[in-house]
Structures are given as structure tokens and as C-alpha cells.
């Protein structure tokens, strides 16, 4: 099965493992991530204001490219997913879509207007809904038995739930079910869907440090031995806050369990 894939800027640079493991595991699980051509950066943040049109164009171009191949669009980075999913929802509104398509009509390769038709999945969501965690479990070669892993959702995967429709925004289960499928034990802790401090780290490191420390201490206090995330910025903020627990990408964990990754961590 071929699906369109939007890696995003960070997966090409500081989060190469997130990308590499996603591609390798997809092959093992029976689907192929086909990177869309000439994708542009999503911008990292969705701007909710209704008069922001130009900032949505890169996402719409990606959505349209996937739609023209009649494939769903898969993302891995939480930020890309948040931006693209929310943009896709906005494109279902006629007035907004009309303005965006008026811009798009100036593209040399413009053919038909886009109206939010493409299905968008986060990689985790695709595993849950299309592959099935039972099938993932069957492919596990190295079960992560005995590991206590704290799922860190942060903000971007879950909120706003009206648009993301990813999981219960206050009591999510997808990452915990994923952890169970790999043979480890999920650790439920209060701060798992609170913010790491996000982009504010650029100008206020202490602010991000305080917020991230709350998350990692909450996970540690509930007995976790590691934290798993889908977001490069969450990982960065947690690591810089001095987290005593290792913070890994969910695709790294998947690669380890599926035997796609060499045993790097002993």
C-alpha cells in the first residue's frame, strides 16, 4: 500500500531518526511512505486567525499533491500534523477555501481548486486505524518487556480536538496502546498532555525549562524509565530541562521492537 508522506523540515535535519525509523518500519508493516515532491515547510504553527491565508498555502499544496495521487497524507512530526490537519479542516469551509484557491490559481501547475478532500493521518493514527496494533504486535521481534514507558502527547497531537479528532484530548490512549503492542508497560501520569514550553524556548529558556521539568518529573514520579514523543520540539525541551529519563521518538521505539534498528542502546 502506498501513502503520501510529508516529512517536514525538522525530520530532514535535527530529527533524522524520527524520519528514518518511520520509513523503515512502514516497509516492515506493509506500507510505503512516498514523499510528496517539492514539499514546503508547514511553518511549524497553525495561525487560527481567519484572515491568515498565505501561511496556509504550503500545507494546501501538500494536501493537494497527495489528493491528486488519490492517497492519504501521512505525517510523523506533531507540529506538521497539527498544521496540515487544521488547514485541511479549514479548507472544507467554502469562503476560506475560495480565498486560498484564488492564491493557488497563480501556481503554474494549478488545475482544480482544493476543498479539503485528502485524508490526513498521523503515523500513529494510521497504525491504529489502518494497520491495527494487533498486526504491529505480530511483527514485533524484540518485545520491550519490562520497560516502563511514559507517553508524552504534549499539545499538538491532541488539541484542538475539534480539528485534530485524534484521540480523547484529556484521556488519550493511542500512545499507551502503541506501547503495549510493543510489549512494554505504559505509565500514565498527570502531565502527559501538558505543554513543554514550545517555541517560546527561543526567547525564554527558563520558561520552557520550568514547563518541561514539570512533565519529566511527573513521568519519573510515576515510575517511568523513559519518555516517548512524536514531537522534535517536545524532545528538545525535555532534554534541555535536564530530564533524568531518556526521551525517544515513537518511531525509534517501533524500530527497536520490530528489529529494524541495530541495538544501539545495549
Amino acid at each position: 500500500m502506498k501513502v503520501s508522506y510529508y516529512p517536514g523540515c525538522t525530520l530532514r535535519n535535527k530529527a533524522k531518526e524520527l524520519d528514518r525509523c518511520a520509513r523503515e518500519c512502514a516497509q516492515i508493516l506493509g506500507f510505503e511512505l512516498c514523499e510528496i515532491e517539492n514539499w514546503q515547510c508547514c511553518g511549524g504553527a497553525y495561525t487560527s486567525s481567519t484572515d491568515e491565508i498565505a501561511t496556509k498555502l504550503s500545507s494546501v499544496r501538500a494536501l493537494k499533491a497527495a489528493g491528486e495521487l488519490d492517497r492519504p497524507l501521512i505525517t510523523v512530526c506533531s507540529a506538521c500534523h497539527n498544521v496540515i490537519k487544521r488547514t485541511n479542516l479549514a479548507m472544507k469551509e467554502e469562503e476560506f477555501a475560495g480565498k486560498v484557491n484564488a492564491y493557488m490559481a497563480q501556481d503554474a501547475d494549478f488545475t482544480t481548486p482544493y476543498g479539503g478532500e485528502t485524508e490526513v493521518y498521523h503515523y500513529l493514527e494510521f497504525l491504529r486505524d489502518k494497520i491495527g496494533f494487533d498486526s504491529v504486535k505480530e511483527k514485533v521481534k524484540n518485545p520491550l518487556t519490562g520497560r516502563k514507558i511514559a507517553a508524552y502527547y504534549g499539545c499538538l497531537l491532541l488539541r484542538p480536538s475539534k480539528a485534530m479528532a485524534f484521540d480523547d484530548p484529556e484521556n488519550p490512549t493511542v500512545l499507551e496502546d502503541f506501547i503495549r503492542a510493543l510489549g512494554a508497560e505504559p505509565v500514565i501520569y498527570p502531565a502527559r498532555n501538558e505543554c513543554c514550553g514550545g517555541y517560546v524556548v527561543l526567547e525564554d529558556k527558563d520558561s520552557a525549562k520550568r514547563k518541561s521539568a514539570t512533565v519529566s518529573e511527573s513521568a519519573k514520579g510515576h515510575g517511568a524509565d523513559s519518555i516517548v514523543t512524536a514531537c522534535p520540539l517536545c524532545r528538545y525541551n525535555l532534554m534541555k530541562s535536564g530530564s533524568e529519563l531518556p526521551v525517544v521518538y515513537f518511531t525509534e521505539l517501533l524500530a527497536e521492537a520490530l528489529g529494524a534498528k541495530e541495538a544501539e542502546n545495549g
Partner: protein, 129 residues
Amino acid sequence: MADNKKLKEDVLAISGVNVRKCMKCGKCSGTCPSYGEMEYHPHQFVSMVESGDIEKLMQSESIYKCLSCMACVERCPRGVEPGKLVEAIRLISIRRKDANRLTPDRISELLDEDMPQQALVTAFRKYTK
């Protein structure tokens, strides 16, 4: 006064928020991870927009303390979505002043070698027009 009225109309229009739905329960501020760093808190954004007191919000550092984490948007029992007001006011502020909060020449001093590109592009989108 006329300008103030126009400002309020602009904030309401581009945020899509109906401030009159607020029942003043304070849950938005109670759940805000940046509460302790803000001069004006999410519930005050709602009440000050309603009363037309928007200039103060535009001049405040509070608009740069919002993490866009959407906790207030998600948890408002009345669907008021205060975070969208913060975003609209920040946008109007950086557009009007034509003075960006973040300029590329500052980047090298703010970076470290581990920082993901995501942090930079997001900050530029939030702080720059």
C-alpha cells in the same frame, strides 16, 4: 474612541471569538501553563476585549507568553476559545507596528546546535510579519 471600536471589531472578526459567551469561570486561566508569567491572563483577554480595552493587551508582553498550547481553547466549557483572542491581538500588534518581534540577525545568538528547525519556523510565524 472610534479607533477603539474598530480595533474590537477587528479582533472579534479575525479571531472568530464570541466574548459574550464567557461565564467567567476562570478555567482558561486556571489551566494556562504560562499563567505565572502573564501580566494579563486568558480570562482577562476575554473580559478586556469585551470592554474594548485592547490597547493595553497589545502593549503587554503577555501576548508573547502564550505558548499556543490550546489548553484554554480545549478546556473552556463555553467554547469561547481565549487563545484565539491572544493570537488575533498579537497578529494585529505585529502587523500594525510593522516592527517584528524577531529578526533573523538575532537567530545566531538564540540557537544552539540541538535546537530543532521547528522551534525557529514556529517562532518566526508567531513573532514576525
